[in-house]
């Protein structure tokens, strides 16, 4: 069984937002709905200032609070690591939106929460998510952590990584390359 994850090397991101647009095209999302976003972190004092760009999306947590709070199991975790939403089961209570520590859930026109799906359906055919394949700087690497020969497995051995808000105990499956690592 595959166990999918994503590695993000934020230091390579130029902030072009092609990942966001590619995702919106893939899933035919309206302009105001997006499954990934860029956060801009400024540090230092003039004239020694710098800006870092950090892509943020659903972390497909191994301990997803969104699934824990869902009253109908509409949000569920698959054995391959993907956290998905069964739209038919969703009652629209938005408890998952409130419970997500990463603020990545969006609402669609039908009042159903939406979020990154790790491109379920496409990745099983061997395709890469468009946020990965569109990126001109190879910021993101997507793959199977159970396969030691996958690109993501190799890169995660090469570089130290961290997770966002790891202290919340959600065990995210999106990893970030440490700066200077």
């Amino acid at each position: 069984m595959a166990h999918y994850a994503m590695l993000i090397d934020a230091a390579r991101c130029t902030g072009c937002a092609a990942c966001r647009v590619a995702c919106q095209m893939q899933w035919q999302l309206p302009p105001e709905v997006f499954f990934n976003r860029l956060e801009f972190r400024e540090s230092g004092k003039y004239p020694d200032v710098k800006q870092e760009i950090v892509p943020v999306q659903c972390m497909h947590c191994d301990n997803p609070p969104c699934a824990t709070v869902c009253p109908t199991k509409a949000t569920y975790k698959r054995a391959d690591g993907l956290v998905l939403i069964d739209h038919d089961k969703c009652i629209g209570c938005k408890y998952c939106v409130v419970a997500c520590p990463y603020d990545v859930r969006q609402m669609n026109d039908r009042g159903i929460p939406e979020k990154c799906r790790f491109c379920a359906g496409f990745i099983e055919k061997g395709e890469q998510p468009p946020c990965v394949s569109t990126c001109m700087n190879d910021v993101r690497v997507f793959g199977d952590l159970d396969d030691p020969n996958s690109e993501i497995s190799k890169k995660m051995k090469e570089k130290p990584v961290y997770q966002l808000a790891a202290e919340k105990g959600t065990k995210p499956r999106v990893f970030y390359v440490k700066r200077g690592g």
């Binding site: 824990t68 009253p71 199991k73 408890y95 409130v98 603020d103 009042g111 808000a165």
Partner: protein, 384 residues
Amino acid sequence: MPKFERWMALPGALVLAGLAGAVNKLVYGEHALGTTAAVPWGSLIAGYVFFAAAATGAGLIGAFAHYSNRQALAPIEKPSLFLALSLLLAGFGLIGIELGNPLNLVYIVFSPNLHSGIWWMGFLYSIYMGLLMVECYFSQVDPANKNLKFVSAVAVVNKIAAVCNLGAIFALIATRPFWHGFYFPLYILLTAILSGAAALAAAMWLSARRQGREADGAVMAALGRIMLAALVVTALANAGKVFFGLTGADPALREATAALVSGPLALRFWALEIGLGLLVPLALLAKAADGQRVFRAAVMVLIGVFFMRLDFVMAGQMVPQAVVEGVQHVLMHGYTPTWTEWALTGGAVGAAALLFAFSETVFDLGTGATAARGKAGGAAAARV
């Protein structure tokens, strides 16, 4: 059959406004609400909590009247059941429209997640509604029936579990420090009693006025004392919440508390929640309480508690979450209820009032019988 009375024009108009809001919500979905992905819960959730908690509080006070054998409280035994049912149905209507697609609620049964507080809320409040209906039935068939005592005892456990779970829905969300912790389940139980007593006092006073007589002085005095006690404890609980919120170690908790006491929510918090909903009723009830005074205090408490619920729901969501360390966000997420949300909330108030008036007309709630006791109520008040 119930006939149209002049006073019904106001709740009737509120219900019509609510229906317009419901149609707008069903047609335009989330666009009809002021909520966003950053602030997903708005005034409809706050309104539901208000009605569900008030229904539970009214039911608990009714149960207290039932088991305590206090003569002054005896006249509220039956009305408390029907009022609780009216409030609960209004709350269910509100949450049903907020959900948008109530048909999907079928998955609550077929795909239950027992880890979810909202699942337990649906379960416990559905049971509560069923028990209320059974209690209402027994109250009509034979008030002295042992079945009623048994059902009432079960219902008390159910009521406490339901309202504490309602608080736990918020309290178990670790990502929202303003809500998180053991505090809110107890706080909502306390304020449920406060709003339940206020709803009962308002209903009993209006019921008497509807019949062209003065409200039973003993009943109003007893409800005034319950409100007074609950107000004092609520004031202390609020002071504690603000103190520990502002001095706590969690920056998000400090920011949320500051939003409440000196930020975007401050005017509403101090003017409506604390001033109108707490201090003025405290001052009114601290003096010897006549029916009119208790009624005025009750109305103010109800308005204050509604804004208490709204402020609580808002303060928990306004502070942006620190996802990426060091990123500077907007200072606060904004939210303004739309006309649809106000219309729906007003509609729920009107519906609860009309439902209670309807049940009072159709069933024997004993509210007419209190007139015969007349001025004897004053003597009964001394025994409370």
